[in-house]
């Protein structure tokens, strides 16, 4: 049966995923059997009792109690069985153990941000240690979103104005796909995330230093990566066209005019301030809607963004 599972389902990255797949496969084979029965009888009768001459009378079969009881009671028993099976696995997965690692998740059009117990924050990439129960405490800052990790078979709507839980214990190290599964507008299909399941040592190191790739990349490449990952692209274009915020093309060195009438030349300090305290200077013609990235971006990432903007002449 493994080939069927691998064909229909994503990889299994937890024990819960294996349980879900077992029930999925059970229902698949059961419904396949019923479907074959339905198709066989339909096609067989349609063929065998095809009209041979017009105007014939047929037999009077109105009901058959035994037959009707069989096809009512057997499916009833089967579906009640499926109900309990599905409910048990669901209930078991709904409860977090006491020692679960708690990570806060915030959904906002169109990005996920994560806050770890030690104060570390990250955007888009969620890092967790392998084989450790994880409890995500999630909320939304705007509309409904849904945090969906196919390889763990878990999904939970993220609702503004309240906290909701999502529990899992990943058993397979590596990178796993995260989707937003509740429609949330223009970039809904771009509201993706990466779940990194790390060894405990690697997880501890990540909390300390961030992604090691950061230190190997050229600053401008890192900046382009942050531009996409942190969601700058939702509002700032790089081709000079107008978005919800000023385009990055030709920004560096330009003299900007602000809503209060003052002006300034765009330099490293101006960009840094705009990232960390975006309401300090708002360019004329734009709304003060940009969120702060204080604590969300590491120093090296801010330097990268500055380098990237410098390149966009």
């Amino acid at each position: 049966m493994n080939f069927l599972r691998d064909w229909m389902m994503p990889m299994q990255a937890s024990e819960h995923a294996a349980k879900v797949d077992n029930l999925y496969l059970f229902i698949f084979l059961l419904t396949l059997a019923f479907f074959i029965l339905i198709v066989y009888l339909t096609v067989h009768f349609a063929w065998k009792y095809k009209r041979k001459q017009e105007g014939v009378l047929t037999v009077n079969l109105q009901h058959n109690l035994a037959l009707e009881l069989i096809w009512s009671i057997i499916p009833l028993i089967l579906v009640i069985g499926i109900f309990f099976w599905g409910f048990n696995d669901y209930a078991a997965a709904s409860v977090a153990p006491n020692d679960a690692l708690e990570i806060h998740v915030t959904g906002k059009k169109w990005n996920w941000t994560f806050e770890y117990p030690d104060g570390t924050r990250s955007i888009k990439s969620l890092h967790v240690p392998v084989n450790k129960p994880i409890r995500l405490i999630m909320t939304s800052e705007d509309v409904l979103h849904s945090f969906f990790i196919p390889s763990l078979r878990v999904k939970q709507d993220v609702v503004p104005g309240r906290y909701v839980d999502l529990n899992f214990t990943p058993t397979v190290a590596g990178k796993h796909q995260v989707f937003c599964a509740e429609y949330c507008g223009r970039d809904h299909s771009g509201m993706l995330g990466d779940l990194y399941v790390d060894t405990p040592a690697k997880y501890a190191e990540w909390l300390e230093k961030g992604d090691e790739e950061l230190y190997k990349m050229k600053p401008a490449d890192l900046g382009r990566d942050v531009y996409v990952r942190a969601g700058c692209q939702s509002c700032h274009t790089v081709d000079g066209s107008k978005g919800e915020g000023p385009s990055f093309k030709g920004l560096f060195g330009r003299t900007e005019k602000f809503r209060d009438g003052s002006t300034a030349v765009v330099d490293e300090n101006y960009i840094r301030e705009s990232i960390l305290n975006p309401q300090a200077k708002v360019v004329a013609g734009f709304e003060p809607v940009m969120p702060t990235f204080q604590g969300l971006l590491r120093e090296i990432e801010i330097k990268g963004v500055i380098a990237y903007i410098k390149e966009l002449k």
């Binding site: 229902i27 009768f45 009378l57 047929t58 579906v79 104005g161 299909s189």
Partner: protein, 549 residues
């Protein structure tokens, strides 16, 4: 002239009696008619136009998804297009399709009545539908709507576009649906011909009656919900938006309290048509008449207490999830009983494989897939994975389109000769039916696989690993479109012919086949007296309608 149906004693000319209902073809006679047949036909052209419009949007959605990233439109346009596809198909096509178009035409005929109980109310419900449709079209061209047909808050109360207008359209359309329901309930209770006891009613009537009960009881809840949404959006009254002290999950409860029963407003009429077509095309007594009749009523009742299965991941309590999951499995049983009854009715019959029966056979297979895949979604742990993925999209298309729309086509081909007095090209109809079947499955079977592999729904862009299955699906939509193009061709062609349809082309036994095709304005020269069961195909035919000399 408009009053003649309401006051049938007001005239007595023989020539007038013999005029078929299509005879007076002036525009005014159509627009002001209180004849249930003409109203049914006006509904028919309206819903067919809406089906065409919704279908064009569907083809655009599939074309955009042929490749990841931008193919023919940007993300904002795509979001509007899939919203319009859903809203048009649900509110303007599927819900009114069988009850308002076929039901209006057939239900009084089957009961041996001269019209529905409230003919003027019937005309009012048609015009309310037209007004609702016009408001919806206004919303489309003045900003559009990008919320999805479910209007989930707080997205729907904060996004731009004509959301308030579109929800108002759905609000208005709801009244059309309620009035049709009230009319059918009263008609079934009061206007059955002498001798037509409840258990002599064709199963079509039982199913339409169950549908009408849901329409009357559930639709007001949608009206209230949409009104609250409009109040919040327009006047800032906080009901659903947490920023205003509301609860967004409350909206989902309200919405699905209507919209799950609405799923049965859509499928029960499909079952109604199949319950007529199969015994008549098989010339066979219906197997399990009472079980099927009571199954319709049971489905109508249980459908009110399963709405929470749309919300397993919404943040509702685990206990609520468990209760809704259990009830959901129970509602599957009466549907299963019906499927077995339909199949057993074919056993030892004399089965004609003409177009209506081809569609009925397609229904059995497609409804089988639609119903059985519901078991995956009813099971809590499995649904958590599949919720809001393409698996759900495929599942409900098998039920809404593969079952209800296919049953609508079965009914359309079955009653077409009665409605217009003309036959259509049978060969073209069979070719089209086969193309529709192949196209439908090519479009939607791959979507189950997309969904179980994790592809979320309502995605403009997708990961490269999903591309192949999306392309298969898009090619399927073209085959489906071709099938419908051929259908439009032979149906329009048949209308240009002289009237050639016999009164009873299927050798069927219900009352509508015992009168002329097309029927005369007052349906029956004399009130029929029913002395037989509805599906007595085991003994020689005893007409209930007297020959007119």
């Amino acid at each position: 002239m408009a009053d003649t149906v309401a006051t049938p004693k007001a005239h007595g000319h023989v020539e007038h009696h013999d005029v078929d209902y299509l005879h007076d073809g002036s525009l005014l006679s159509w627009l002001t008619t209180v004849d249930h047949k003409k109203i049914g036909v006006m509904y028919l052209w309206s819903v067919l136009f809406m089906f065409f419009l919704g279908g064009v949007f569907a083809l655009l959605v599939r074309l955009e998804l042929f490749a990841p990233g931008k193919t023919i439109m940007d993300a904002e346009t795509y979001n509007k297009v899939f919203t319009l596809h859903g809203a048009i198909m649900v509110f303007l096509f599927i819900i009114p399709s069988i009850p308002a178009a076929l039901g209006n035409f057939v239900l009084p005929l089957m009961l041996g009545a001269k019209d529905v109980a409230f003919p003027r109310l019937n005309l009012a419900s048609f015009w309310i539908y037209v007004v609702g449709a016009l408001i919806a079209v206004t919303a489309m061209v003045t900003g559009g709507v990008d919320t999805g047909w479910t209007f989930y808050t707080p997205y729907s109360t904060t996004t731009d576009g004509s959301v308030a207008l579109m929800t108002f359209a759905a609000f208005v359309l709801g009244f059309s649906s309620i009035l049709t329901g009230v009319n059918f309930i009263a008609t079934v209770h009061k206007l059955r011909a002498p001798g037509m006891s409840w258990f002599r009613m064709p199963l079509f009537i039982w199913s339409m009656y169950s549908t009408a009960i849901i329409q009357v009881l559930a639709t007001p809840v949608l009206a209230i919900t949409l009104l609250l949404l409009i109040m919040e959006r327009t006047f800032g009254v906080g009901v659903f938006d947490p920023k205003l002290g509301g609860d967004p999950v409350l909206f989902q409860h309200f919405f699905w309290f209507y919209s799950h029963p609405a799923v049965y407003i859509m499928i029960l009429p499909g079952m109604a048509v199949i319950s007529e077509v199969i015994p008549s095309m098989s010339q066979k007594t219906f197997f399990g008449y009472k079980a099927t009749a009571f199954s319709s009523v049971a489905i109508a009742i249980v459908s009110f207490v399963v709405w929470g299965h749309h919300m397993f991941t919404s943040g509702q309590s685990q206990l609520a999830g468990a209760v809704f999951s259990f009830l959901t499995f129970l509602v599957g049983i009466p549907s299963g009983i019906k499927v077995f009854n339909w199949i057993t009715t074919m056993y030892r019959g004399s089965i004609s494989l003409q177009a209506p029966m081809l569609y009925a056979l397609m229904f059995l297979i497609l409804f089988g897939i639609g119903g059985l895949t519901g078991l995956f979604l009813g099971a809590l742990s499995v649904d958590i994975h599949l919720h809001d993925t393409y698996f759900v999209v495929a599942h409900f298309h098998y039920v809404m389109m593969g079952s209800t729309a296919i049953a609508f086509l079965a009914g359309l081909h079955y009653w077409w000769p009665k409605m217009f007095g003309r036959t259509y090209n049978e060969t073209a109809a069979r070719i089209s039916a086969i193309l529709v079947f192949i196209g439908f499955n090519t479009t939607f079977l791959p979507q189950f696989l997309l969904g179980s592999r994790g592809m979320p729904r309502r995605y403009y862009d997708y990961l490269p690993e999903f591309q192949f299955l999306h392309q298969v699906s898009t090619v399927g939509s073209w085959i489906l479109g071709l099938g419908f193009l051929i259908m439009a061709g032979y149906l329009f062609a048949s209308l240009r012919k002289k009237m050639d349809a016999p009164a009873n082309p299927w050798n069927a036994r219900s009352l509508e086949w015992q009168i002329a095709s097309p029927p005369i304005t007052h349906n029956f020269h004399e009130t029929p007296v029913v002395t037989t069961e509805p599906y007595d195909y085991y003994r020689p035919f005893e007409p209930s309608v007297k020959e007119h000399h």
